[in-house]
Subunit: 314 residues, 2 copies
């Protein structure tokens, strides 16, 4: 790394950690990734793991670090208590906690809770992506109203109203796909090599039209190939389509405004295909860029002397 890092940002999730070093003008200087997420770290592992990466990037000892994600969970590095919906996203800076016992200034952003007994829900990490979307540089003027879909192991669907987080819902789509495809009787017919866009789209439409079908059609993914040996089963495509189609049917609100799909890689492509096949208008936003944008904006609020906020670009 040639220039000096003014700020380090990190998205520390359940299975991975991603770390970015930036200067005060938001230029990316260096980045690191590892699979040492909350799932395979004990509380005392976080500090050494972070310093290992900072040292490898040549980050000075006094550069602060801002972290979002599961590192702030009760079973993570240090708990950053949830904020409650509805909330302004700038409250994430006020709610950040400072890690005790470290000479470096390291802070973790809180997650957000929906304390509604009929629809209890929590997020950690996605709130920072959502905050990024409300910043000017991501969407012209910053997102003020609409629905954001954040696909993943646990997909989130968030309602943004007047630039604030109004409410959200989590779907276990990704985890269900993995469990059913690898652990259930469907594992015999769900294989990664066996993909068909046509069968994926047909399953999305079927589950979206009648969401109860998402569960009722599952066993057919096993029985179909037993009975129609001459038809390629395309089990992964159909299972994914049923799960994603059911998710969209459950989470898409008629009055939710425009849809913004915040995703990356294969997940983005699959949801893009699903929404397109349902003739639903949407934008695609790079979730990696959004989380970094959200983290940087919060850093300017937490350390204004080091990272002055720049005037808004018109």
């Amino acid at each position: 790394m040639d220039a000096t890092a003014d700020i380090v940002l990190a998205d520390w999730g359940t299975s991975t950690v991603r770390i970015w070093a930036l200067d005060r003008d938001e230029n990316l200087l260096d980045e690191r990734r590892s699979d040492r997420g909350m799932g395979n770290l004990s509380r005392d592992d976080y500090g050494p793991e972070l310093e290992h990466h900072l040292s490898a990037m040549g980050v000075p000892h006094d550069t602060p670090v801002l972290i979002c994600g599961m590192a702030g969970a009760a079973q993570g590095w240090q708990e950053a208590p949830y904020l409650d919906v509805p909330t302004d996203f700038t409250a994430l800076a006020d709610g950040a906690i400072r890690i005790a016992g470290q000479t470096r200034d390291i802070r973790i952003i809180p997650g957000i809770a929906q304390r509604d007994s009929a629809n209890p829900d929590v997020m950690r990490g996605e709130e920072t992506i959502l905050h990024g979307l409300t910043c000017n540089k991501m969407i012209g003027g910053g997102l003020r109203n609409g629905t954001v879909c954040l696909p993943g192991t646990h997909s989130k669907w968030a309602q943004i109203k007047d630039g604030r987080l109004a409410g959200f819902r989590t779907m276990m789509t990704g985890e269900m796909f993995t469990l059913l495809g690898s652990q259930s009787i469907l594992r015999h017919t769900v294989t990664a090599e066996d993909w068909s866009d046509d069968d994926f789209i047909a399953a999305v439409r079927e589950a979206h039209a009648t969401p109860a079908r998402a569960l009722a059609a599952l066993f057919g993914l096993r029985a179909g190939p037993l009975l129609f040996a001459d038809v390629a089963p395309h089990g992964a495509a159909r299972l994914s389509g049923l799960m994603i189609g059911g998710e969209i049917a459950s989470c898409l609100k008629v009055d939710g405004g425009r849809i913004h799909l915040a995703a990356t890689g294969g997940m983005a492509a699959r949801y893009e295909e699903a929404l397109t096949s349902l003739e639903i208008d949407f934008d695609i936003i790079d979730a990696d860029l959004a989380v970094r944008t959200g983290l940087f904006d919060l850093a300017t609020r937490l350390w204004p002397e080091r990272i002055p906020q720049r005037p808004t670009e018109a």
Copy 2:
């Protein structure tokens, strides 16, 4: 065993085998159970396993054996090719295959396939329970029309019309409950000790009213206990209720006639509670008795010289 067995009947499933020795008047002389099902037997294990039980019960060498269930699957003892719906149940006797290479007369009843590309489905074992229900002794006159719910790892809902099997649907309810409760993030809040009838019924009603909720409410089983620490989570009750309520909503047809719940033990009690809470009229039938009744009736058709059919009881 004091009397001599005229016939041996067996229900040989994926995880267990149950074996009954009866005389020609359908009196039960002896019975055996073991957990040596298809899942932990290779093809060559079935013969010795069966003879071990027959020997322990003192069954003569010339007593025939009639088997239903997964022993007749392609990956079982010897394949008994599927019959197709719609079908008469008496065709199960004609379709039974005789095990090759055995001096004893051992036959396996075929499963039934639904070769409908939109709703492909298969059953092995349940067809014999259903046949039992159409026999006179189970339901006055024998079941002629109605819907039969057979709960299990893979629940079956069958439509009986004019005493024939018209069609059926399989739901992976039991397997989903086990996978989600033990392998997913919900395992932290789904524990067997933590049951509540009220929460089970509330979840049944919620999922039945809006089946898409069955998937959308899942993550709340994790988030709820995180946010409302003073409320008992009752995760197993709520997960079971969501799965069963969603199943009933998907499978209950308005024109399906009266519901017959063919089940035993804890499974019978749980579905009974669910159907009652939805104010759905139904009968309960002992599935163990039904499968034995079905097997015995088919045996009278296959070996009439050994087991003469008795005149119908009025």
